[in-house]
């Protein structure tokens, strides 16, 4: 694997909600970096500050201390080259699937024809070509989340942030979407930060998995996942896959003891 430059860097990042007597320190003195093109998953117990961390990288929350840089620029507000996928698909119910995917394009006043073609090819990639004119309420949960993936990618961002995007889905749909995401990833070579509670999902998708400890959070493990790309579902059957899962599970469980 070629060594690439750090793309996202966090230095001494803390987040304190409600400063004062009832303050909550959601993230404390966190530092790590993600290289360009790297896919990094974050695992950790509930409430340890994973979403907070992601929102700070997105520029939707400001860090109380420390600094976050993306491509050398300090993050102070949302950045158009960052795509986000939330736990909830956040589709607009009155817009068609295609118009939902095109929403960022319309908001940002970008070239319609060019992005329309891109939107259609993204929809094709996730198998929703026939649903382009349907409304969200006519779609299953998994389909909605696919639309959200397309929307996050339509403006061709260089960084993709995902906060448990598949946690509301059943296991089978989730596996399907993991494969779809992996597929897109392998074609578009973006940098990714992915929050999840699923160890298998993290190992399957990532180049690196970071395990965060209880609040106030610190990094308790940082594990490289060296399966070659392109990957397919069968890596999950290899002994190495099982070994990595066990290692990560141990790291998480060491928290509870």
């Amino acid at each position: 694997m070629v060594e690439r430059a750090d793309y996202v860097t966090l230095e001494g990042v803390s987040k304190i909600y409600n400063p004062g007597p009832a303050q909550v320190e959601a993230v404390s003195q966190l530092g790590f970096s993600v290289r360009s093109g790297e896919f990094v998953s974050i695992l950790g117990p509930s409430g340890c500050g994973k979403s907070t961390l992601l929102m700070m990288v997105a520029g939707l929350e400001t860090a109380t201390t420390g600094a976050i840089h993306i491509a050398g620029e300090r993050v102070e507000r949302p950045r158009l080259q960052t795509g986000i996928i939330f736990q909830d698909p956040t589709l607009l119910p009155w817009k068609s699937v295609l118009d939902n995917v095109m929403f960022p394009v319309h908001i940002q006043g970008l070239d319609e024809a060019q992005h329309r073609a891109r939107a259609m090819s993204l929809l094709q990639m996730v198998g929703l070509t026939d649903f382009a004119e349907k409304r969200p309420h006519q779609l299953s949960g998994g389909m909605k989340q696919r639309v959200a993936i397309c929307r996050a990618l339509v403006t061709d961002p260089d960084l993709l942030l995902m906060d448990e995007p598949f946690s509301a889905l059943d296991a089978i749909t989730r596996d399907e979407l993991n494969v779809a995401l992996l597929d897109i990833w392998q074609r578009h070579h973006k940098t990714g930060l992915f929050v999840t509670h699923s160890i298998r999902e993290a190992v399957f998708l990532s180049d690196r998995v970071i395990v965060m400890g209880r609040r106030p959070s610190r990094i308790v493990a940082d594990v490289r996942i060296d399966f070659s790309r392109p990957r397919d579902v069968h890596v999950q059957e290899s002994p190495e896959f099982t070994r990595l899962c066990t290692q990560l599970r141990d790291a998480i469980e060491s928290q509870h003891g």
Partner: protein, 256 residues
């Protein structure tokens, strides 16, 4: 099959109940010999629409209808505008919201005589009073709707760089639509009440005036006929609101 079921339960059934009620009323009045002044039978009220009274009813329905419609429309437009401004500005919201709720709660009807003092006994006082009592349900419902957009959707908008105005017109307002219409339905009934109260207090025209006039001369069938016309006006307004809502929601669902 399904259509037939909705037809039976949605239209035929209420009509049947209404018809039966009228029949009972008619029979009761006849069997117990209730004097017409106390309660005329429905058939007697119906006669009002075929005699000389008909022209009179129409003549009084026009000013009432105009005042109801104009008060409702003005309250709708200004109410939605104020709600949008309040949704934008934290300051405005903090300053006005308690008063909006207080004014919602006080018996606004008690203020009707003041409007006559301020605006005179003509069209403008009843228009102003109808607007006044329609206004608050519209503002409160719209504001509730505008503030009900899911937080994650708002975050998504922020993340893709949407401006406040874009979020308002393209996201918050469409999300608020069902709330807005709930407010408009209340406002539609309030507009009728407002105008009738105004006409009760002082007017030389209108259905409220006609009701008082007929009552003072013990012409009970005339009173009931005027009330029936008022009901028709109120129901029409409500119907227009409900129909518009259906159309907009269907368009939102993609069933143009």
């Amino acid at each position: 099959m399904a259509n037939r079921a909705t037809y039976t339960s949605g239209i035929a059934l209420p009509l049947l109940v209404g018809g039966l009620a009228l029949l009972c009323w008619e029979m009761a009045v006849r069997v117990f010999h209730v004097p017409v002044v106390i309660l005329p039978p429905p058939s007697r009220v119906m006669l009002e629409f075929f005699g000389p009274r008909f022209a009179e009813l129409l003549q009084h329905a026009v000013p009432s209808g105009l005042q109801i419609a104009s008060g409702f429309v003005f309250a709708t437009v200004s109410g939605i505008l104020l709600a949008v401004l309040m949704a934008y500005s934290v300051l405005l919201r903090a300053a006005l919201q308690p008063y909006m709720i207080a004014l919602q709660v006080i018996p606004k009807i008690a203020l009707a005589p003041l409007f006559i003092l301020w605006f005179g006994i003509g069209f403008s006082s009843r228009f102003a009073f109808a607007t006044f009592i329609c206004f608050f349900p519209v503002v409160i419902a719209t504001l509730t709707g505008l503030r009900d957009t899911p937080t994650e959707v708002l975050r998504m908008c922020q993340a893709i760089g949407a401006s406040e105005a874009q979020v308002m017109w393209r996201v918050r307002l469409p999300f608020a639509l069902p709330y807005v219409f709930a407010g408009l339905k209340i406002a539609a009934t309030m507009a009728v009440i407002g105008v009738v109260i105004g006409e009760f207090i002082s007017a030389d025209r209108g259905l409220g005036y006609l009701i008082l006039y007929c009552a003072s001369r013990s012409e009970t069938p005339g009173v009931l006929a005027a009330i029936a016309v008022l009901c028709a006006i109120g129901l029409s307004l409500y119907g227009v609101v409900a129909w518009t809502e259906q159309r907009l929601l269907a368009a939102q669902r993609g069933e143009r």
